[in-house]
Symmetry: D2
Amino acid sequence: MKPKIDPDAFAFRLPFEVRDYECDMEGIVNNAVYQNYLEHTRHVFMRGRGVDFAALVREGVHLVVTRIEIDYLWPLRAGESFWVGVSVERMSPVRARFHQGILREPDNRPVLKALVTGASLDARGRPARTGVLAKLFD
Amino acid sequence: MKPKIDPDAFAFRLPFEVRDYECDMEGIVNNAVYQNYLEHTRHVFMRGRGVDFAALVREGVHLVVTRIEIDYLWPLRAGESFWVGVSVERMSPVRARFHQGILREPDNRPVLKALVTGASLDARGRPARTGVLAKLFD
Amino acid sequence: MKPKIDPDAFAFRLPFEVRDYECDMEGIVNNAVYQNYLEHTRHVFMRGRGVDFAALVREGVHLVVTRIEIDYLWPLRAGESFWVGVSVERMSPVRARFHQGILREPDNRPVLKALVTGASLDARGRPARTGVLAKLFD
Amino acid sequence: MKPKIDPDAFAFRLPFEVRDYECDMEGIVNNAVYQNYLEHTRHVFMRGRGVDFAALVREGVHLVVTRIEIDYLWPLRAGESFWVGVSVERMSPVRARFHQGILREPDNRPVLKALVTGASLDARGRPARTGVLAKLFD
């Protein structure tokens, strides 16, 4: 049984179009490229809530991915359009979990389902309350 | 003297936004990534004129880049928007030259100027009239 | 508690060096790039057992990743060396599971632990016995 | 007439192997990926002369590419081995030109010829003597 995706379950969605250079020799999007789509969507989503990833880096604050689970359900092909959805769940003061899905346009065929765990770290790389996650949830 | 770019000189333009994963450790877009932007714009431009790159590949027709010249004028940074322009010039029945530029939004600051030469090849990799270039110019 | 990696648990290992263009604005390897390292190692490993990915594509046989789980344990930085390990476990006649790890050189610090599930598919995209997985286990 | 490459003309060479994820839907290495190969080789070459790119970034010194010319002579395919050569020529106290070539193994078939112009910049992005280029030539 393949995992299902509820298109209405996401707090934010971002439209994309497959670029030919993202396809591999099978004519489908390379597995690693989907992770780029997921990350870009998380960053745009967070920017909308006042968390600018590039600014964080300049300030020495780190928001890192500690774990990712991806179910690949259907491949995207050159020329296809799709959207990426994201919602975020608070796990602890220093940890959040992003629920993400990729759905093909215009039929909303499920392409990929992902669960991404992130943590805010201090300069030494240890989990720390940095106010970043608070912004995501307030 | 830096090369100049006339924003009104392009037959087609495509809007983009820098994605964080496209930036390198200097916080600016990596040099090779600009070539992805240029290629994607050429392919969307050609698709609008009936030349579908993925379909060509399936048919065994090859449209290849034989030479590229790029002047890097100003770096793009995370979060910035920009557009890529393209015009095409017929060089011979088997060869075309794409004039391309990248300009930052919203001030049209010139980011990059490129000259890309393409050729249509037969199955053996030799220049050949394949009808592809004809579509671009008719 | 972070997942542990036993350096001696892998059937095959491949040495790598971080390339500067693989690092993002934090000066560390971008999350998606690790998936490239994992895939390349799987493909070299499989080629050593007579399974050539590019040849499979030409023959219309598909060996796809259906699920990936990655624990990010420690980031790699520009200039660092590391190795990727892989072992494979038979799940069914049409499904295999790859256990992978990335360890930094020369101290074998665990960088990443991954579990990658793959399936062999027929032309219609349904799981099928294609002889590919048999090669991996015989 | 295609540009020629003298295999013995380079001061430094680095061996590579095509990784499957670097190939596009034509089964050949994507054009932009060659620029990654070229950059990685320049950086390893410079590191051997005491110029560490990542360290420069941390010190606020910028060594940027201002222009690149690439002739694509023959495509690399999945599974092929090749090497990248580089030599450097002093243009001025703030500007250097890298001559680069990519040759397929084991037959030294010319794959690509490139001319890459670099400049050392101060914090404001203007050409400046930073001692970096001096290291390359002393």
